[in-house]
């Protein structure tokens, strides 16, 4: 089938033979695929465990903060190149100790690079394996890990180690609360 005009007879039949053989070969490959297992993971309903559990441990999903062991050192805020984390530390007038008034992460802007997780000394901020949170209102993606009036006393290393919540549970609560409240 080569379009060159100077087509010798041998080349003519060789083209036909090549075309026929390679088509047969290709058809054999595709037909053999009909007998092989498809690798589809039928995501929403036909899988045993929800995908969040089976993802590898280092997966970088939506960020979450375990405020109990957060020392308020603002290392993550400085480490983030596009400042998607913003923390307000306030000083209690009489008792002179600081507390965290606001800890917001903009999940819509975050680039999931993991630089903040490396910078955090106590591992308070960490990536969950959550991913399926499409919302129709972009404000739902603003995760605030310290509620409006609540005052969180920063954790000091020599304090007793508090009981930590499971990875992913905090993020899931905040996201669900956002979805219900705002739309």
């Amino acid at each position: 089938m080569s379009s060159s005009t100077n087509l010798t007879l041998g080349q003519y039949f060789k083209n036909i033979q090549n075309a026929a053989l390679s088509t047969l070969e290709g058809m054999a490959v595709t037909f053999s695929w009909l007998f092989r297992r498809p690798i589809t993971i039928q995501w929403p309903d036909k899988i045993e465990k929800p995908l969040e559990e089976t993802l590898p441990e280092r997966t970088r999903g939506i960020l979450e903060v375990e405020t109990r062991i957060c020392t308020g050192c603002l290392a993550c805020q400085k480490a983030c190149p596009i400042d998607t984390i913003s923390i307000d530390m306030e000083r209690n007038a009489e008792t002179k100790e600081r507390f965290i008034a606001r800890f917001d992460i903009d999940a819509a802007k975050c680039m999931y690079c993991g630089l903040c997780v490396d910078a955090c000394p106590t591992g308070a901020i960490r990536h969950t394996t959550l991913f399926a949170y499409a919302t129709d209102n972009i404000d739902n993606l603003l995760l605030s890990y310290v509620d409006k009036g609540e005052k969180v006393t920063p954790f000091r290393p020599k304090d007793p180690q508090p009981e930590l919540r499971a990875r992913g549970s905090i993020g899931k609560n905040v996201l669900e609360r956002n979805l219900k409240s705002k739309n």
Binding site: T84, S86, R102, D139, L142
Partner: protein, 171 residues
């Protein structure tokens, strides 16, 4: 052959064009750049067949054009630098020596405002044609809106109290 002998070779052909040199290459006079590049490419010992990268650096008071040349057969490379004034930087295009310079010079014109004499098709390459200013210069202030689309967006991280929206904070 190492950088120093390459520079001597060029100094032999263009005695007063080669200014002071540095570790990986040498400064060159702007007017003679095209001739030197032609020489680098055609000379057997040098045979710089490829212009790897041609870019500009804004050093505050003047612009610096950097030409990275490399030779695949001789496996050595060289850097040529040219200093240009900030405002009307003009230099002749080396597009006739290496065809790759066509697009790299268009990019340099687009982002730095360096004008290239007898370049076949000097148009903006990256930015829309009606964009004002050359972004990669240090004194560039981005426009506040383009074709009716504003540059600012309400930053959800800042509560309603403080009113600062995200200016172009690329300082």
């Amino acid at each position: 052959m190492d950088v120093q002998s390459q520079i001597n070779l060029i100094k032999g052909k263009f005695p007063n064009e080669v200014l002071e040199n540095f570790a990986t290459g040498t400064f060159v006079n702007a007017e003679k750049l095209k001739a030197i590049c032609q020489f680098c490419r055609d000379n057997e010992e040098l045979s710089m067949q490829v212009l790897t990268c041609m870019t500009a650096v804004d050093l505050g008071d003047h612009l610096e054009l950097v030409y990275h040349l490399i030779s695949y057969s001789k496996k050595h490379d060289l850097v040529l630098k040219v200093t240009l004034p900030r405002d009307n930087a003009v230099i002749d295009s080396v597009e006739s020596v290496w065809k790759t310079a066509d697009w790299q010079e268009r990019e340099c014109f687009d982002l730095f405002g360096v004008n290239f004499k007898n370049h076949p098709d000097l148009r903006r390459i990256m930015l829309p044609d009606d964009w004002q200013g050359h972004p990669l210069r240090k004194d560039y202030t981005p426009p506040t809106e383009y074709h009716g689309m504003s540059h600012t967006r309400k930053n959800p991280l800042i509560p309603e109290g403080q009113s600062a929206t995200t200016e172009n904070s690329n300082g």
